[in-house]
């Protein structure tokens, strides 16, 4: 039993490591697919400067780094190709001695972590061109690096939830876009929630998207969380992780019962 657990842990760690390295295997394509991010950082920082700078909660330098971090987290959040890869593997996995849930999760985790590290490297070189200070970018990158594994677990569980749902209902694909937009808007990806008007700010801060986009980005630029303590943030995200684990197990069981594989 102990040997089997060790072997399984070793396999999934190697699987995650393989997926991290995979993100660096085709650098020209990865660069082309991430080419728009500096453009979004530029336009969103200009939007903030025009409409929200008068609130003086942040400086332009901080906002450029903030948007770069939230864009980095969002662009590697729940991605359709990754989901298709996992759900497409569902039928085959039923005939394998490995758990589909764990294999998919370690794949999602690795791809997310690898993609984020890759984007962090790109942004470290590009955002100084937009006006951010190199020293501040370095400090923010180090802080983000500490949070990345935990955020990768949350991201992996969200992706797993969608992959499960995709196996159950094919139409789920159409809801991936609005689901992403919910996290984009409520997570403060376009601009910090601290600049939102009341009562929306207090309401949005209570929701999970703010814990996985706004709070980490705020921590990276300010060195502390917004109106919450590190313990409270870990507890909140911990509850989210446990809930997602439970939901994923339930969804997987239902999917396995209902699944019908089609012959060739």
């Amino acid at each position: 039993m102990k040997n089997s657990l060790l072997e399984s842990t070793s396999f999934h760690t190697r699987h995650a490591w393989f997926n991290i390295r995979e993100q660096f295997s085709d650098i020209p394509t990865a660069l082309a697919s991430n080419a728009l991010i500096p453009f979004f950082v530029w336009i969103l920082s200009r939007v903030w400067e025009r409409f929200n700078s008068h609130q003086a909660n942040f400086t332009l330098n901080e906002i450029i780094i903030y948007i770069a971090i939230t864009e980095l987290l969002f662009m590697t959040f729940v991605r359709l190709p990754s989901l298709n890869r996992a759900s497409g593997d569902f039928s085959l996995s039923l005939a394998r001695p490995r758990s589909w849930l764990m294999t998919s999760f370690s794949g999602f985790f690795g791809r997310s972590l690898g993609g984020r590290i890759f984007m962090l490297i790109i942004l470290t070189f590009t955002i100084p061109l937009l006006g951010a200070k190199a020293g501040d970018i370095f400090t923010a990158s180090l802080r983000l690096f500490i949070l990345l594994p935990w955020l990768g677990i949350i991201q992996g569980l969200f992706s797993l939830f969608f992959a499960n749902a995709q196996v159950l209902w094919h139409q789920t694909n159409y809801f991936l876009l609005p689901f992403g937009k919910i996290f984009l808007v409520l997570g403060g990806v376009w601009g910090p929630i601290a600049d939102f008007s009341e009562p929306w700010r207090s309401f949005v801060l209570k929701l999970p998207p703010s814990d996985i986009f706004f709070q980490p980005a705020y921590f990276c630029i300010k060195g502390h969380f917004y109106q919450t303590t590190p313990t409270e943030w870990v507890l909140r995200t911990g509850v989210l992780v446990i809930s997602l684990v439970v939901i994923n197990i339930i969804f997987f069981r239902v999917a396995k019962e209902r699944h019908q594989a089609f012959g060739g």
């Binding site: 409409f51 808007v185 008007s197």
Partner: protein, 261 residues
């Protein structure tokens, strides 16, 4: 006349195909409406609610959003193939369209219809209704009218960007980046973000035809402004079609054979 008939036949074909899978049509449309509503609400909360001059800017953004969603959604729903022009050229799907006596651009346009784009159109018309409900009848009317100019701008952008693979190897990725950049510049209230030099630079991009000039015409609807907007969009379409024509002369069959030493 034959082309118009073909366009209607293609529309009927796409409608029938979508009707045959109502769950897909409903899910796609509802998904896109939810998506657009969240974006609209999010930008309103972030940029305009409780901010100085927020009331006027909300109306401005509602109108901009309506214009863009109607123009973009209508193009993708009725002649969605234009969005994939670059892909067709790169993958060789354009080739069969060149071997018929029909206009290849027309065949490209009618080759696809995007289901979720119906949600964009519905969202745009809901915005128009909201503008009327809020008492801005004139702006609602002008938004509908200038959505035509914006639509011509987007059509030209698709053709111009889609023609890039004629001139650049693996140019479709570049074309998609070009379209996405211009969509963002049109979708955000760029006319209110950039002032002075920034605005002049913006006028040199396709976003001028898809967002900036039509919004300027909606705000200050003089005969001069309206003529400039419509004229500029038509000129842009003419230029885009000419570029496509030039590119077509350079088109090489995807299965053409080449001798190598």
């Amino acid at each position: 006349m034959n082309s118009v008939k073909l366009l209607f036949l293609a529309l009927k074909y796409h409608f029938d195909a979508q009707k045959s899978n109502p769950m897909n049509l409903i899910a796609g449309t509802i998904g896109m409406i939810i998506n657009n509503l969240i974006v609209l609400w999010g930008l309103w909360v972030m940029l305009f609610d409780g901010k100085p001059n927020g009331g006027y800017l909300t109306i401005y953004f509602l109108s901009l959003n309506a214009m863009i969603t109607i123009a973009w959604g209508s193009l993708l729903f009725f002649v969605g193939g234009f969005r994939s022009l670059g892909e067709y050229i790169e993958e060789g799907s354009l080739e069969p369209m060149l071997s018929t006596p029909r206009n290849p651009l027309l065949l490209v346009g009618i080759s696809q219809s995007s289901t979720p784009a119906l949600g964009d159109i519905i969202q745009g018309f809901c915005n128009i209704i909201a503008l009327v409900f809020l008492g801005h009848h004139a702006i609602a009317g002008k938004t509908l009218f200038f959505a035509i100019a914006s639509g011509i701008g987007f059509l030209s952008l698709f053709i111009l960007a889609g023609s890039i693979p004629f001139f650049v190897k693996r140019g479709n990725a570049l074309a998609q980046l070009f379209i996405e950049c211009n969509l963002s510049l049109s979708f955000y209230p760029s006319g209110k973000i950039f002032t002075d030099y920034g605005k002049y630079v913006l006028l040199l991009t396709p976003a001028a035809f898809t967002g900036l000039l039509p919004m300027n015409a909606i705000e200050h609807a003089t005969l001069m402004n309206s003529s400039i907007t419509l004229g500029a969009s038509c000129l842009f379409l003419f230029v885009a079609c000419r570029v496509f024509g030039m590119g077509l002369k350079r088109f090489q069959s995807s299965n053409s054979m080449a001798l190598r030493n």
